[in-house]
Assembly symmetry: C2
Homo-oligomer: 107 residues x 2
DNA sequence: TTATTATATTGCAATATTACGATAAACAAA
DNA sequence: TTTGTTTATCGTAATATTGCAATATAATAA
């Protein structure tokens, strides 16, 4: 068939996979790191930083927003994007927990 | 066009994106968590745990191996898979660093 | 050698993602 | 209102991913 069998997996596994999928493109990694590098959250110039056209950047931003990795608030004509620290913490803790479990293993 | 413009991004951004891509499917998240849950590393029964056919599981395992998230060593007829703790640590540190930088921010 | 068992590869159909031009929508300024 | 600025959406082409039947490969057992 070829259809992704996501219904066959647990909600938890799907949720984690969705987070990673949102970060699975270099443009989206670059966006996150750019948001991290600027002091303020007024980030209407992401398009100028990336080697992609405006509609493409808008699409990537939407995916990051849908995954709750970034937040966007309207600021007049512009939109103010910033990283959602809660989601970053969820991911960090996930890998921290994996690491802890690995410490008690042979491998 | 539609081709992924990965050459336009830095090696570092591509490398992180590749790690996340390897974890961007619920089956691959499930595999990692299963490897974590079993005591030994002899894991030739992953196929029986997942709701996917053997060639599909083999394909997912290959992707995790290529991304260095798991290691596989031959053990007679079977193959012994286990998580690569080095890669997990790289990811954990990446998000730890993001978290640290976020602490010194307004947002 | 001939099974048997375990994993990998091939080939292909179904679907998803990526990218961007064109266009729309929303708002501010003139 | 009209004009300019900023971001989003639509439509579509190119490419990538997912899943599996069929088959291949590799090692062991009989």
């Amino acid at each position: 068939m070829g259809v992704s069998k996501s219904e066959s997996f647990s909600v938890a596994h799907n949720e984690m996979a969705s987070l990673f999928k949102a970060l699975s493109h270099p443009a989206r990694v670059a966006i996150v790191e750019y948001l991290l590098s600027v002091d303020t959250c007024i980030c209407g110039d992401i398009v100028e930083v990336l080697p992609l056209a405006q509609p493409t950047v808008s699409q990537h931003l939407k995916e990051l927003k849908n995954a709750n990795i970034i937040k966007g608030s309207i600021d007049g004509t512009a939109i103010c994007y910033c990283i959602n620290p809660d989601t970053i913490e969820i991911i960090e803790k996930y890998f921290g927990s994996i690491n802890k479990q690995l410490k008690n293993k042979c491998c």
